[in-house]
Amino acid sequence: MATRSASAASTKAIILLVVAGLLVFTLPTVLILCVGMLPTFAAFLIDRRREKYTTLCVGSMNFVGVIPFLATLWTEDHSFDKAFEILGDPLGWLMMLGSAGIGWAIYFVAPNIVAMFMAARIEQRIERLKHRQTDLVEEWGPGVSGSEDDEGNEPNQGG
């Protein structure tokens, strides 16, 4: 047991060292990501679900908006200057925030559409159940519904 926990701890340490190394060597990228992905961080902060659906929804679209600038950074000049240039471009902001906005839009619209479909399905099932009940009443009489006014069909009468 002691050997296994020591090995896990050392693996974590190695990963941390690798990530830290990468961050040190890719600081312009990190800068673009940190700034461009701010809506995702905001979504993460307000997302109370354990599954973090809001973060995933906003983050996915937000990342699509950031990717072109990361690609520009990596293909032209991976430097802080280039990074600040990109960040200084309003079009860049529009793309990054706009894509996050699309993520938010999907997040807000999709549940309503799903609810609409589900309501339609429920109504359809209710109709089916009502139809079944009508069939039962037609087959067994109104007494089957347990209504008290079923004089002609109750078994315990006359004699």
Partner: protein, 666 residues
């Protein structure tokens, strides 16, 4: 008015009454036979409320003696004047008239020769023949005698079957044991009792009038006969020739051992003459016993006094005076022994509770005078007279209560133990009476006092209010009678009542107590009672092969409607309704019963209905739940919607990212 046909053999003309041949309980009408074998006939249409003597009629068939009105046949006819069916008896029409038009009539006294040849000889031969056939006449009196032809030489006895034995006999024409009984309960008696009546009738013919024209106080008259003897009371002041005196003393003896038999009369007719015996009076006690203010000097008088004053008789019997009277004044060991046997010793009598007075008095009466009628709570009847008494008085609460109390008293075993001679007919009645307490005390239809009525009157008609007017006497007539009722306009609630059930139980070997007992049980099922009745009548119809009864079936169809409606499955209900209709059209109750006896179909329906109810309830619950979900539409897809949004974003993001990377790489 039309001719009423009986058994396709006789035509009774209800427009031609023959009042000179009426009986007290039957009206006479002209009758003709449809075949040449019959001469002039007479039909007696009987009172339906008075039992007729069916057994005696059977025994009289083929009786050819000239001394008796010849009985031909009997049956039940539709009597339009009464708007009902009534029993009718067919006799040969006498060629002559009635000898005494009524008991107050006077005629020219008959000479000895006329009496002996024209009356006594044929009458004694008739009684001998009746005795050989095991029956009695019990209706011999002056106004029931007919001249056999216009020459008025031969006198014949009138009919004896239109009423219970002795019912129409005046008090002084009955031997003392029967005079002490109520008119309805006199019983069949014996041929010696006919000889007594013959003696009084002979006296009437001899003097040309009723020897006792007026009896102001019948009870006092009975006491007088007990104390002074019947001969003294009946012959009384009438002057009788010596030769007739011997005959009359022999015939009017109160002691049956002393009374002349048919053989004795025949010997007398043959010329034997003896010195007339003095009438033997009952032994007198040294001092009288007072019961209800009346003094009794002999044991028979005391017994009759107890019977007449039964309400205070208990106190008298418990008193020390009674014990002293029995043991010291009366000095009759037989009476003491009888008392010990049926009531117990003096201590037992004195310890008897007041509440048991009626039973105590009955037992005391039995012990004091064993041949006398049974007396209980004021009524007095011979054992074979209980049936007719109940039949005639059945509508009276008092009669029913008295007879029920008598049956529950279970006196018969003790009564039988006191009898010195018992006829086989009595043993038959005894065997019936023995089983009655068990039947009387069961509450349901088929039991109770109605069952006693039909057990005690094996030939009586069913007195059910529904079919009384149809006068049925056999169980095979029941279904046709009910069919006739069903064809009428006003239907009773159900084709069964206590009388019909009791009638069936008593008369049909096929309908026993086991079949009738369910009628007593409370049935909660729809039309449960109707189905139980249907089961019984269906059995009756099939056992007696009654044929179709569509009216009765239609009646049951209506009665069983609740049972049809109790089927929950509407389709099945429709099918059952159709099946019931078809079965009713056949007219056979068994077809109807088959439908209602299908327990599996009922069970299937009940189970299916329970399942359907459950399913209906489940549907309602589900719909309620779904309706609630619809009301909270915004929460309906919150999690799923977010999942869907995340998936859509994920997919779109992946496509967008891939596209962007590919674009920059190219």
């Amino acid at each position: 008015m039309a001719k009423v046909v009986l058994k396709d053999r006789f035509e009774i003309d209800d427009a031609v009454p023959l009042p000179h041949f009426d009986s007290p309980t039957a009206k006479a009408f002209q009758c003709t036979g449809r075949t040449a074998e019959y001469g002039d006939l007479l039909a007696l249409v009987c009172d339906p409320n008075i039992p007729i003597r069916s057994e005696t009629m059977e025994a009289l068939r083929g009786f050819s003696g000239i001394g008796l009105l010849k009985f031909i046949d009997s049956g039940v006819v539709n009597w339009s004047a009464a708007n009902r069916r009534q029993p009718a008896l067919i006799f040969d029409l006498p060629g002559g008239t009635r000898v005494f038009e009524n008991l107050n009539s006077t005629i020219q006294p008959l000479s000895d020769d006329q009496l002996i040849k024209g009356f006594l000889t044929p009458a004694v031969n008739t009684l001998r023949e009746l005795s050989a056939r095991g029956i009695t006449h019990r209706n011999i009196r002056p106004n029931n005698l007919y001249y056999s032809d216009a020459s008025e030489r031969l006198i014949m006895l009138g009919e004896c079957v239109s009423a219970p034995p002795g019912l129409n006999q005046p008090l002084h024409f009955e031997a003392l044991e029967y005079a002490m009984a109520d008119e309805t309960g006199r019983g069949e008696g014996a041929i010696s009792d006919d000889l007594f009546a013959l003696g009084v009738t002979l006296l009437s013919l001899l003097i040309g009038r009723n020897p006792v024209a007026n009896i102001p106080d019948p009870q006092q008259y009975v006491f007088d006969r007990i104390n002074l003897g019947s001969y003294a009371n009946i012959v009384g002041v009438h002057r009788i020739q010596m030769n007739m005196m011997e005959l009359l003393r022999g015939l009017l003896a109160d002691d049956t051992r002393e009374r002349w038999s048919v053989r004795d009369v025949q010997l007398w007719l043959g010329g034997r003459r003896l010195t007339p015996k003095q009438v033997k009076l009952p032994p007198k006690a040294a001092r009288p016993l007072t019961i209800g203010g009346m003094e009794h000097e002999n044991v028979r008088s005391a017994a009759h006094g107890f019977g007449r004053n039964w309400s205070m008789g208990g106190d008298v019997a418990r008193g020390a005076d009674f014990d002293n009277w029995i043991r010291r004044s009366l000095n009759d060991e037989n009476v003491v022994e009888n008392l010990n046997r049926v009531v117990g010793n003096a201590q037992a009598i004195q310890a008897s509770p007041k509440a048991d007075d009626a039973r105590l008095v009955t037992r005391v009466c039995m012990a004091l005078d064993p041949p006398a009628p049974l007396r209980h709570q004021g009524f007095s009847t011979h054992i074979d007279g209980i049936g007719p008494t109940l039949a005639i008085g059945f509508t009276k609460d008092q009669v029913r209560e008295n007879i029920a109390a008598f049956i529950n008293g279970r006196f018969l075993q003790q009564w039988m133990a006191l009898q010195s001679r018992t006829k086989s007919e009595i043993l038959q009645v005894y065997s019936v009476l023995e089983k009655l307490p068990g039947l009387l005390n069961q509450p349901g239809p088929g039991f109770g006092i109605e069952r006693c009525l039909y057990e005690l009157n094996p030939y009586g008609h069913c007195m059910s209010g529904m079919i009384d007017h149809l006068y049925i006497t056999r169980p095979e007539e029941l279904v046709p009678a009910l069919e006739a009722v069903a064809q009428g306009n006003e239907l009773p609630p159900i084709p069964m009542d206590r009388h019909v059930a009791a009638f069936l139980a008593a008369r049909s070997e096929e309908i026993d107590d086991r079949i009738l007992r369910p009628l007593s049980a409370l049935d909660e099922r729809p039309a449960g009672d109707a189905i139980k009745v249907l089961r019984i009548l269906s059995r009756v119809q099939s056992v007696y092969r009654n044929g179709a009864a569509p009216g009765l079936c239609a009646w049951f169809q209506a009665l069983t409607t609740p049972a049809v409606n109790s089927y929950h499955n509407l389709k099945m209900r429709q099918q059952i309704e159709t099946a019931v209709g078809r079965a009713a059209e056949t007219g056979f109750l068994a077809e109807l019963l088959k439908i209602f006896d299908d327990a599996k179909a009922i069970q299937r329906d009940e189970q299916g209905y329970a399942r359907a109810q459950q399913e209906h309830a489940q549907c309602s619950a589900q719909m309620q739940q779904m309706a609630l979900s619809l009301e909270n539409r915004e929460n309906l897809a919150s999690e799923l919607g977010e999942q869907v949004a995340a998936v859509i974003s994920g997919v779109l993001g992946s496509i967008g990212a891939t596209t962007a990377i590919i674009f920059y790489m190219i």
